[in-house]
């Protein structure tokens, strides 16, 4: 291949551009990237702020729950829900309270509404992870739910409960979301 004058100019310009590119790239990393410029930092801040806010907002509910006062916890949750309806954390707490009260179908429904809004609750490492309790719920409820549905196919409530539990099982099993 023979290069003419124009080729040589272009090659020279390419070399200059490449050097400039490298120089600027080297300059920008890593020293010039301050923490606040980093998206992961922003995300971490938002995440921690959310954790803090949720803990504060729902503390009357969680305190009642921890003290075993499940009905009080439900009523306090209703109060928070007036201001923040549709919040995933509310659904998850409702699921947990109902689970503790032994209302397993209601618990599954609550967990599902929460997880659909935020998958964090089924993650192992999330600060609000309910993975363990959901795993126990599925383990306990799935066999009787399968039997009940087998015995009464026409009952939509049994079908819904079974599909809820299967959804939770699928989310526990992992895979792409």
């Amino acid at each position: 291949m023979k290069f003419d004058r124009f080729d040589k100019i272009l090659i020279s310009l390419l070399a200059i551009a490449a050097v400039a590119l490298l120089a600027y790239t080297a300059q920008s990393f890593p020293a010039k990237t301050t923490a606040i410029e980093s998206r992961s930092m922003e995300r971490e801040l938002a995440s921690q702020a959310r954790v803090g806010l949720l803990e504060k907002l729902y503390s009357p509910v969680t305190v009642a729950l921890q003290n075993g006062q499940y009905q009080e916890a439900l009523l306090k949750l209703e109060e928070v829900n007036i201001r923040y309806p549709g919040e995933a954390h509310g659904f998850i707490l409702k699921g947990e309270i109902l689970y503790r009260m032994g209302v397993l179908d209601g618990a599954a429904a609550g967990f599902i509404r929460g997880i659909k809004l935020s998958g964090d609750y089924i993650d192992k490492n999330s600060p609000f992870s309910k993975r363990d309790i959901i795993a126990i719920l599925v383990e306990k409820s799935l066999p009787p739910a399968q039997t009940a549905y087998k015995n009464s196919h026409s009952n939509p409530a049994l079908k819904e409960n079974l599909s809820n539990l299967n959804y939770l099982k699928s989310r526990l099993a992992g895979g792409c979301e």
Binding site: T25, S28, F29, P30, T33, E37, S38, R39, S40, R43, E44, S47, I112, K116, G119, D120, D123, N125, S126, V138, L142, L162, S163, L165, N166, Y167, L168, K169, S170, R171, L172, A173, G174, G175, C176, E177
Partner: protein, 354 residues
């Protein structure tokens, strides 16, 4: 079966794809998603800031490996040729709808069989759908639906380098982590095999697949066309057998319909999603994995499909088209139908009539 060098390469491709497809899950990738091109593209689109789902953002090294491995192989084998220029916009749109089909099914054709070999029986609807889709595509080809021949003259010399260059840039991003690159700290994108292992596997598979031309829809196509004489039949069989075996050994084989990882029970839409993927793959000459490999060997048309796939990866998340364990959202169903509108109208318009 003649066990020549080409056949050996094909079988090796199947073996490696099956082995690493499961092992990457063992090493950290999401369950049944050791290799899933559509998932990787959704993840990578998110990492580049093209969508905002905080649980699906990670620049997957395997994806980079596929393209650069294929590029290296093509260079070594002297098969790198810049080519392209056949129905580029149709290919771009096809790339988009390939991802739509995969997102509604939850997985690309490779993951389809990885799910199947892990005992996920819901994937059967997708298996049938893929076969039907490939068959429809073949009928289309036989009836004269032709995107036009790839032409070296239509693609200026060197233009095929662009795709490997872009993926080389992504490789740099993986190592230098520029501030705009996002990485999920939760969700399925936070689950990944160690970076160097992912990259090495990607490079190896891209390298081998370039030489063997191995591809899932290609295997189905060849089996439908040639039956037992198809070399890809043996590659496909090696892939399935290895994946099944490794799933068994690693304790990942859990047969059943309900509660499978990353799956739903809307069988009709799983079926239709994979029909769309199979049909489009035949029309454009390969499944999403093959498109990546071809873009690494200088095929600008395949690179356009890849660009379309990235747009798809961004929009299936941004527009809530992707299915989840809860089922297929209405937007996903509409997008599948729109995909078929593209296939049907494209087939009518691109058909060569005597």
């Amino acid at each position: 079966m003649r066990l020549d060098r080409h056949m050996m390469t094909i079988i090796l491709s199947g073996l490696l794809l099956g082995f690493f497809g499961v092992m990457l899950s063992v090493w950290g990738n999401p369950e049944n998603s050791g290799i899933c091109v559509s998932c990787f593209i959704e993840n990578s689109a998110g990492a580049l800031g093209l969508h905002n789902n905080p649980r699906l953002q990670y620049l997957r090294p395997e994806l980079v490996g596929f393209v650069l491995g294929a590029f290296a192989s093509a260079l070594l084998r002297r098969e790198f040729r810049s080519r392209g220029g056949s129905a580029p916009l149709f290919r771009f749109a096809s790339g988009f709808f390939l991802i739509v089909g995969c997102a509604v099914f939850i997985g690309c054709p490779i993951k389809l069989f990885l799910r199947f070999t892990a005992g996920d029986l819901t994937s059967l609807a997708g298996v049938v759908g893929l076969i039907v889709g490939v068959w429809c595509g073949l009928k289309g080809l036989a009836s004269g639906v032709e995107l036009g021949r790839l032409s070296p003259s239509a693609a200026p010399r060197g233009s095929g380098l662009l795709a490997p260059a872009v993926f080389l840039m992504f490789l740099l991003f993986i190592f230098i982590s520029p501030s705009f690159l996002i990485a999920s700290e939760k969700g399925s994108s936070a689950q990944h095999a160690p970076l160097l292992i992912s990259l090495a596997v990607g490079l190896l598979l891209g390298f081998i697949a370039q030489g063997s031309r191995f591809c899932i829809t290609g295997s189905v196509r060849d089996i439908l066309l040639m039956g037992r004489r198809a070399p890809l039949l043996w590659g496909g069989t090696a892939f399935l057998a290895t994946a099944l075996l490794v799933n068994f050994i690693s304790g990942r084989f859990n047969p059943g319909f309900a509660g499978q990882p990353g799956s739903h029970q809307e069988y009709l839409w799983s079926f239709l999603g994979m029909v769309l993927v199979g049909w489009l793959s035949v029309l454009i000459g390969g499944c999403p994995f093959r498109q990546l490999v071809k873009s690494g060997e200088g095929d600008s048309d395949a690179a356009l499909v890849v660009a379309g796939m990235f747009l798809g990866g961004a929009l299936v998340q941004g527009w809530n088209l992707a299915a989840t364990s809860a089922g297929v959202p209405i937007g996903g169903k509409i997008a599948i139908i729109a995909g078929f509108v593209l296939v049907f109208s494209g087939s009518i318009l691109l058909r060569e009539r005597e």
